[in-house]
């Protein structure tokens, strides 16, 4: 070791490689013994397993949790679907011809369609070809009786999603779809399998994590003829959790029913005390069971995804011109401003000029000199023009934000939600969402539209429900929700007190009661007996996109301690809110009153 101090003065360490040699020898010996055990002693065993691929994996599908309504009615569950498949590698052409006629006779289906599917499958080199989808139980039994003569043909059963109410509450419930290949690479880490389904919209999407359950599986050893020998390991699949909705099917069904004769529209029924949604319907709707089919006919597919009527679109969460139902916002803005105190009286006129245009009263006459309550009762335009002009756009914007407009409502299925629009001077200055900043300033004409809910105001039925609930419950902003259950750690927010003087809310509430007592909403009681007092507001709105008028009606009952709030909306249905929207609400009130 005389050379060890070439570079420094440190003595060389005493190096003892013995331990390392020992560890190396010991572990290598272990490996060697293990290899002898695997490759020499048990070679025959493993060879057999390998040759015959004796280890099989049976995956067991998790059962997706159900979706049920408030009363325990099932809105979504699962059922077995049987499909008839053939494995072409076990069948030659002659056999196939024989099988074809046999199956066709047995199950009473045309042999042409069998041939078509078979040929397609052969062309695509499928490992197994689905000959028939969704067999009836009868067909399954018939096939099972004759199974032995049909080698290579099998019945596969699979659990699929089933929606007993078909097209009722479709937008709320949502649907599932198979995951795509590109999604699989990400989702496989979360335990999804190829061809697995995943919730795409609605409750199915939002509650996916709870509802989904977990795949299980069994590893089994089979003998050379493929029959089960023993289980090598098992992990049971976990059923997903049920999701209970706040939806009341009685109300949901009537909500869907009243929309039937409308071209398009939406109903929101909510408990104004806490925001629990009792019904949410959107017309046109669609049958959820379509998504459980294996073969999706192009025509049906187009009518869902490419139709101009947009059936997949949830109109309850999309924004439209509110028209006169917006006037409560202008009223509160006036009251809160201090310039127009509760006792304010204003002269209404046939029309009032702002900028270059004379904005008309809807009866072209005016209603004389009236206060807030009467202005709401007769739904005077010129009264609210003056209020709006007096307080300015930003005061109205501020109040609308307090009432939850121009923001997400907080409902679970926010993936379908549009926050709409409430104009402000900032918005106008910044280009109104379409123009260059500075080129689209606020003009006097705008304030007229702003005051009565046209063009520069776009709100969703759910936002209206929220705002009116705040009037109904005395000043609390609720979070609309479809389920009381937690999702991904999110709990529903408690109602929040709004920063608006309760006296002003009370005044608006009185006005809304007058609407039904002796104003535009008086027909709510027609043909209905012993309904508790109702408060409400009608609305007829010009469609900012150029279609015919929308009809609105919002009401809550009982007027004092409200338990139910309805927003009825008929899209592009000219004739007025009291004619088209109000009767829808009436039917729902009838059903509610009966229970």
């Amino acid at each position: 070791m005389k050379n060890s101090n070439l570079n420094n003065n440190t003595p060389t360490f005493k190096r003892e490689p013995l331990v390392i040699y020992l560890i190396t020898s010991f572990t290598f010996l272990l490996i060697l013994l293990r290899l002898i055990f695997l490759q020499l002693l048990n070679h025959d065993n493993y060879k057999k397993m390998s040759d015959e691929n004796r280890i099989r994996l049976l995956a067991t599908q998790p059962i997706r949790g159900r979706i049920i309504d408030k009363n325990g009615l099932i809105l979504a569950d699962n059922r077995l679907r049987y499909s008839l498949i053939i494995k072409p590698q076990y069948v030659d052409e002659n056999e196939w011809q024989k099988y074809k006629s046999e199956i066709s006779k047995l199950l009473n289906i045309s042999s042409d369609s069998l041939q078509r599917k078979y040929s397609d499958g052969i062309k695509n080199k499928n490992f197994s070809i689905t000959l028939l989808d969704d067999l009836t139980v009868d067909q399954v039994i018939k096939f099972k009786e004759n199974e032995n003569s049909l080698n290579g043909v099998e019945i596969l059963s699979r659990i699929i999603r089933n929606y007993p109410y078909k097209n009722i509450a479709s937008h709320v419930i949502g649907y599932t779809q198979p995951i795509t290949d590109s999604e699989f690479s990400i989702l496989s880490k979360k335990g999804y399998k190829l061809n697995d389904s995943i919730g795409r919209t609605g409750i199915e999407y939002v509650f996916e994590d709870q509802i989904r359950g977990e795949w299980g599986g069994e590893m089994i050893e089979v003998n050379s003829s493929g029959t089960f020998v023993k289980s090598v390991g098992i992990k049971p699949s976990k059923q997903g959790k049920d999701v209970e909705l706040t939806i009341d099917m009685n109300l949901q069904l009537v909500a869907e029913e009243v929309l039937k004769d409308k071209k398009a529209g939406a109903i929101v029924v909510m408990d104004p005390r806490d925001g629990a949604i009792r019904a949410m319907a959107s017309k046109p709707t669609f049958d959820l069971n379509f998504f459980s089919k294996d073969f999706k006919p192009q025509k049906e597919y187009d009518s869902l995804f490419n139709s101009p009527t947009k059936p997949l679109f949830n109109r309850a969460l999309n924004a439209y011109d509110p028209g006169s139902v917006w006037k409560i916002v202008t009223a509160i803005a006036g009251l809160e401003s201090g310039s127009f105190p509760p006792e304010t009286l204003l002269e209404t006129k046939p029309c009032i000029t702002y900028g270059s245009q004379c904005f008309r009263e809807h009866n072209d006459l005016g209603f004389g000199t009236i206060g807030y309550e009467d202005a709401l009762r007769v739904s005077s335009n010129t009264f609210f023009y003056q209020i709006g002009y007096g307080v300015g756009v930003d005061a109205i914007y501020d109040v609308s934000k307090k009432l939850g407009f121009a923001s997400l409502s907080g409902i679970e299925i926010s993936e379908q939600e549009n926050i709409g629009l409430v104009a402000s001077s900032k918005w106008a200055k910044e280009g109104r969402g379409w123009g260059e900043p500075g080129r689209t300033p606020w003009v006097p004409e705008d304030i007229a539209s702003m005051s009565i809910g046209q063009f520069v105001v776009q709100v969703t039925p759910i936002q209206l429900a929220r705002a009116y609930a705040a009037i109904a419950n005395g000043g609390y902003l609720v979070t609309p929700h479809l389920s009381k259950q937690k999702r991904q750690g999110v709990t529903i927010q408690e109602p929040k007190k709004i920063d608006i003087d309760p006296i002003n809310i009370e005044l608006v509430k009185n006005g809304l009661r007058k609407v039904v007592e002796s104003g535009t909403g008086v027909s709510i009681n027609y043909g209905v007996s012993n309904l508790p007092p109702v408060s409400g507001k009608t609305g007829t709105a010009e469609d900012g996109e150029g279609g015919s008028d929308h009809a609105w009606f919002v009401c809550f009952t009982p007027s004092d301690k409200s338990e139910l709030l309805i927003v009825a909306f008929a899209q592009n249905t000219p004739g007025g809110g009291s004619v088209h929207a109000l009767p829808m609400a009436r039917e729902i009130l009838k059903v509610w009153n009966k229970n």
Binding site: N3, S4, L6, N7, N8, T10, T12, F13, K14, R15, P17, V19, I20, Y21, I23, T24, T27, F28, L30, I31, L32, R34, L35, I36, L38, Q39, L40, N42, H43, N45, Y46, K47, M49, S50, D51, I55, L57, A59, K189, W215, G216, G217, E218, M219, V232, G233, I234, K235
Partner: protein, 423 residues
């Protein structure tokens, strides 16, 4: 003697020509890795025969490149690299850190860093940089008191944490092992290694049967008593450490480990638990090896290998392809090659002229050895799935190149030994 000193004094970057043993190109140290690369290239080809992928080609040429790189490095005296060590260490830390921001994710772990046209695994580079910097700090003084451990530990802990939280459990284990072996090489009492590594058993015992700890922890204290100078203090410290570890175990289990890491550990203890996931792969790996028999199915003929029954077979499970296609004899050959490589490396380390060289080579040796053992144990079903590649055989270009660089460093140390001996 004059000559020897001039070897250091003159500022030539390479060894003088007469200092180089021409036979080094045939040294088993570098020939064995090349042979392993050849064999595994064919196996990778077999695994991926259905694909257009050129992984086997990449592996082969990276290996060839590595061979020449190793020869090239052997011409550089290791002493010359001293001044580059600290920058290298920090560069590797930065690249580890960058992973957290720009890393390419794979199987829930961020491991790759992309540099435009090619990407690499910073954790592989970090292994080498850690070995070098540890050798640099340890060469001067043997380890005799706890204080001596502070510097090396603080140097290792930074890359270790960065790697552990990628998360890359496998490489973080490699780092621990190479640190301990290098410390042992510096005369640290072997009991200390026991005391520290047995923390793992303390954790396991806590989970399995906490009562065992009543005997176990005092035993650790006794080990400390036996092996240190400040007996009482160290014993107490050891007992405190192990008690702490046992109490922290459930917390680490809950928050420190990713789900897939937990699964792997559970799986190892009870393979039937997840028949769909790893359990199936482990079993298929065993079946593939077992079905190989004495002679195997022949190269490119493995049934399970061709059918790709074993996921990641071209990386972590390459040995199962070897077992199936070349059988027992092939496995024994490869085992023999690994054994020879390891013992050659240990010899180089033992005979190295300076502590610095010796420590580098032993660090390299321990890295190889640990990876070989853990990988083979996993493949043949004796150990858990940890995602540690088999040196020179598993597909992975960063790790292959780094491994050849390590071989180059060992060759350089060998060169020096020989040149001095020849005089």
């Amino acid at each position: 003697m004059v000559n020897r000193i001039s070897l250091i004094k003159n500022k030539r970057f390479f060894y003088k020509k007469d200092k180089i043993d021409r036979k080094i190109v045939f040294s088993p140290l570098v020939v064995i890795p090349l042979v392993l690369v050849f064999i595994s290239s064919i196996l990778i080809k077999s695994v991926q025969r259905e694909f257009v992928q050129s992984d086997f080609f990449n592996h082969f040429f990276t290996g060839l490149l590595g061979y020449f790189l190793a020869i090239f490095i052997s011409y550089i005296p290791i002493e010359r690299i001293r001044k580059y060590l600290i920058p290298f260490y920090f560069c590797s830390l930065v690249s580890l850190l960058l992973i957290y921001f720009f890393g390419i994710s794979f199987y829930g772990a961020q491991r790759w860093l992309s540099l435009g046209i090619f990407s690499f695994q910073p954790s592989e580079v970090a292994k080498l940089s850690t070995i070098l910097i540890l050798a640099f700090v340890l060469e001067r003084k043997s380890i005799s008191s706890i204080k001596d451990l502070i510097l090396p530990f603080s140097i290792v802990i930074i890359p270790w944490l960065l790697i552990f939280f990628q998360p890359d459990l496998g490489t973080s284990l490699v780092l621990i092992v190479l640190t301990f072996v290098m410390l042992y090489w510096c005369q640290m009492p072997i009991e200390w290694i026991f005391i520290l590594t047995f923390c793992i058993f303390t954790s396991i015992f806590y989970l399995v049967s906490p009562y065992l700890l009543i005997v176990w922890i005092p035993l650790m204290g006794y080990l400390a008593y036996r092996s240190t100078q400040k007996k009482i203090i160290c014993s107490v410290l050891t007992i405190v450490l192990h008690t702490l570890v046992s109490q922290l175990t459930p917390i680490i289990w809950e928050f420190g480990l990713k789900d897939y890491q937990k699964d792997r550990l559970i799986l190892f203890l009870d393979p039937g638990r997840d028949p769909l996931g790893g359990g199936y792969h482990l079993l298929q790996s065993k079946i593939a090896i077992g079905s190989g028999g004495l002679l195997g199915t022949g190269l490119l003929n493995g049934k399970l290998t061709n059918l790709q029954f074993i996921p990641e077979q071209h990386t972590d499970f390459i040995f199962s392809a070897l077992g199936e296609e070349l059988g027992f004899l092939g496995c024994v050959l490869v085992l023999f090659l690994f054994f020879t490589l390891i013992s050659q490396l240990v010899k180089v380390s033992k005979n190295a002229r300076t502590n610095f060289e010796s420590l580098i080579v032993i660090g390299i040796t321990s890295t190889f050895l640990f990876q070989i053992i853990i990988n083979l144990f996993m493949t043949i079903g004796l150990g858990p799935v940890t995602g540690i590649p088999l040196p020179f055989m598993s597909y992975g270009r960063t790790s292959l190149l780094i491994n050849f660089i390590c071989i180059g460093l060992a060759l350089s140390a060998l060169n020096r030994t020989r040149s001095l001996r020849n005089k």
